[in-house]
């Protein structure tokens, strides 16, 4: 099982386990719906590996590996 959202393969889904607190960039991701306990899935990767497109709460967002690597996941 991959440890962070950045490693989650395209097409699979997982549950957000933990995110470090107090980081401004992660607060915005939380506000977009990614909070611990939420199911996320990876829809695709851009041709050159970044950014990734994810689906959370039925909304599609994209972010870079740098941010995704902060988001610890566990099996869905």
């Amino acid at each position: 099982m991959p440890a962070t959202l950045a490693e989650l393969p395209v097409g699979s889904s997982a549950i957000v386990q933990a995110m470090p607190t107090g980081r401004s960039c992660l607060t915005r991701l939380r506000e977009m719906g990614i909070v611990p306990g939420t199911r996320v899935s990876v829809t695709r990767r851009a041709p050159l590996g970044e950014p990734i497109e994810i689906c959370v709460r039925g909304s599609h967002l994209s972010m870079r590996n740098h941010e995704a690597a902060f988001i610890a996941i566990s099996a869905a």
Binding site: V35, P51, E53, G58, L61, S62, R64, E67
Partner: protein, 694 residues
């Protein structure tokens, strides 16, 4: 404020970006809009009027799109401040229309819940119901009204569905405050916020009747430039925040999680959606448009179309505008008796106005194109595909299109940077945009390359190669400076690249055309006045003081412009230029292509047709210095070409940069760094080249 305006209710339209909020606003108000900037920030303020179903006048304000009242950008700070009644020039709205993208219902509820807590009478608009239906998302509007205590209207802003119902809801004056309970704050955080509120009240940073929400949102905004309050109070807010973070680490994140817990509870009651995501037009299109190979092919096609429209299709109207102004000049020439006044009109004002209006076709086409791309949802895909490349120089995918547009003309490129929401990335994009070789440089490149390598000798191949080299040099320079600014000049941490991928939808043409018109008018009024003024100045500089004779070359030498050319000769001589080239450089500050017409005057070359460069080119190639050496040696030509690649020589762009960044500071910084780089590189090329014996 007049008494009448006070009686007219002010209704704020708020919502997430891509919720179709502005389209609804445009549908409701049409041309009855006023667009300006909020004082002190480059955030657009749009106020419009419409009439209720009972014929009562309503004022609508379209507030910036945002994901949260925890502001992370100037746009979001304006939204928060207007809703809290913190902006002195904008009254607190009487009612709020909260526009929701139904196909992203749960995520949109985040800000909805924040807005409901403010306690203003609110109408909830479930927009894009058609897209939600495609996804088989069913939202129970009646239940939503029951739980939240607010009117709920379903609309489709593209087709106009639900507009009557929305107007009926807007006409209601009996809307009671929403039932949504304030976010439950942990006891300690609540006590700390109450303490902060007392301190802020004493400092006069917030008004005395403020709820806990105002200190809450101020404390969670990390950028003090957003507050719009005195510096001493900013320091206080900083202290309060540090204390909060010390005492309750992660308090903001806990609040977000709590809010989503309540949103999940609400969704369980009002939203039914399939377990597995349904195949929609969006998922099918994305499989092609974001395909590793087909996605790139499509991107190239889209950009190819854009360039075809800007360069080729715009050519026609630009020709008509030029011809029209030419005729106007000729007509005025026959109307007024010869003299300085006629000269001013014919050679100063008419070409000055013409030089502004000529950009209009390109600006209209570009903004129409951008409008379609944004409205359909393709713009996010473009940013998604290009993000990796742009991230290498510290920018993000959204900078790509404004930069690319600058190859046609930096003016629309700089204006298009408004689509970038990170202020830092937006500023860097604006600063580097004019390094893209715009179409005004093309005539100068052609002329000088023609002098450097006459076609007969080496053929068009080498010419094209040099042209390509110049474009590459500018592009490389732009990326280099983006990297430098990102690394060393700009303060503030990089904001994360979080890009929403909205569902594809049909563009709302009427709304797009309205926005195109607003941009065009803004350009004509703001840039036009400055450009016209400078054109008259340059005319005066080359007209006075007068010589007795009729010889235009003599007149040029005698005029202020000629004297200025001689004055700057010591500065530009190390670059290999003489005072005549100096006049051309000065003239280029009106617009770069003016170099060609100025040099025609300087060398008294009679040419029937601006397009035909041959007479001027031959004259330049034969021109010698007083000591008999050629003026335009290959080394001088290369030095000049490099100068034109890098130098900031366009008052129109300077005027627009000043407008879009909100101050002269960045416009002057840009002028300085670009022209400084141009000077240094040209100096190096000429000096090293000379030393090597070229």
């Amino acid at each position: 404020m007049s008494a009448a305006a006070a009686e007219t209710p002010l209704i704020a339209i708020v919502g997430n970006p891509n919720s179709g909020k502005t389209t609804l606003f445009n549908l409701l108000t049409g041309l009855k809009q006023k667009v300006a900037n909020y004082p002190g920030v480059t955030v657009e303020k749009k106020i419009g009027e419409c009439y209720s179903q009972h014929g009562k006048k309503l004022r609508l304000i379209d507030l910036p799109g945002a994901y949260s009242l925890n502001a992370r950008s100037p746009d979001e700070a304006v939204l928060r401040d207007v809703l809290l009644g913190r902006r002195p020039e904008t009254p607190r709205p009487d009612r709020v229309v909260c526009v929701v993208d139904s196909a992203n219902f749960e995520r949109n509820l985040y800000m909805v819940s924040q807005v409901l807590e403010l306690g203003l009478p609110t109408i909830l608009v479930l927009n894009m119901v058609d897209v939600a239906e495609q996804r088989e998302w069913r939202i129970d509007a009646a239940k939503l009204t029951e739980i939240l205590g607010v009117p709920v209207v379903k609309t489709n802003a593209v087709s106009g569905q639900g507009l009557i119902e929305l107007k009926l809801a807007l006409s209601r004056e009996d809307i009671s405050p929403p039932k949504w309970q304030d976010a439950a704050l942990p006891e300690g955080v609540k006590a700390a916020l109450e303490h902060s509120r007392d301190e802020m009240r004493q400092a006069g940073a917030i008004h005395t009747r403020s709820s806990l929400l105002e200190p809450l949102y101020l404390l969670s905004d990390h950028d003090p430039t957003h507050y719009g309050i005195a510096d001493t109070q900013i320091g206080r807010i900083h202290e309060l925040r540090s204390r909060m973070e010390n005492d309750f680490p992660g308090w903001e994140d806990a609040l977000v999680a709590e809010r989503y817990r309540r949103i999940e509870e609400l969704c369980a009651q009002v939203l039914k959606r399939p377990d597995q995501e349904i195949e929609t037009i969006t998922t099918k299109l994305d499989r092609i448009l974001l395909h590793p190979v087909l996605g790139f092919v499509n991107l190239l096609l889209v950009l190819g179309l854009l360039f075809f429209l800007i360069f080729k299709v715009a050519e026609g109207p630009m020709g008509w505008i030029e011809a029209g102004f030419g005729q106007l000049g000729a007509w005025v020439e026959g109307l007024i008796s010869p003299g300085d006044f006629r000269d001013l009109i014919v050679n100063g004002v008419v070409p000055g106005v013409s030089g502004v209006v000529i950009f209009l076709p390109q600006i209209l086409i570009l903004f129409f194109f951008i409008g379609i791309m944004e409205d359909t949802g393709y713009m996010s895909r473009l940013a998604f595909i290009m993000d990796w490349a742009m991230s290498k120089v510290g920018l993000n995918g959204k900078s790509f299109l404004p930069f690319l547009s600058s190859y046609a003309c930096a003016i629309p490129g700089v204006m298009a940077a408004r689509t970038i929401d990170s202020p830092k990335d937006r500023l860097i994009t604006i600063l580097i945009a004019p390094l893209a070789s715009c179409s005004a440089r093309l005539p100068v490149y052609s002329l000088l390359i023609g002098v450097l390598f006459p076609v007969g000798e080496v053929g068009a191949f080498v010419q094209a190669g040099i042209m390509l080299g110049l474009y590459s040099l500018g592009t490389f320079g732009a990326f280099f400076f983006a990297w430098v600014f990102n690394k060393f000049v700009m303060k503030g941490s990089a904001s994360p690249m979080i890009l929403e991928m909205p569902s594809y939808k049909m563009p709302a043409l009427k709304s797009i055309l309205l926005q195109v018109w607003q941009r065009a008018r803004m350009f004509l009024v703001r840039a036009g006045t400055i450009i016209l003024g400078i054109s008259i100045l340059i005319w005066a500089a080359s007209t006075y003081p007068k010589t007795a004779g009729d010889d235009s070359a003599k007149q040029m030498e005698h005029s202020f412009a000629g004297r200025a050319g001689k004055l700057i000769e010591p500065v530009i001589a190390p670059l290999g230029y003489d005072w005549k080239i100096g006049i051309g450089l000065i003239g280029s500050f009106a617009a770069r292509e003016v170099f060609n017409s100025t040099m025609s005057v300087v060398y008294a070359v009679e040419s029937e047709d601006d397009e035909n460069l041959a007479p001027l080119r031959d004259k330049l190639a034969a021109e010698r210095r007083p000591d008999g050496r050629l003026v335009y040696t290959p080394l001088v030509c290369i030095s000049l070409l490099v100068f034109y690649v890098f130098a900031m020589q366009c008052v129109s762009t300077i005027a627009i940069v000043k407008r879009e960044t909100g101050s002269w500071k960045w416009a002057m910084f840009q002028l300085g760094y670009m022209t400084g780089t141009a000077y240094l590189l040209s100096l190096l090329i000429f000096q090293i080249g000379s030393a090597l014996g070229y």
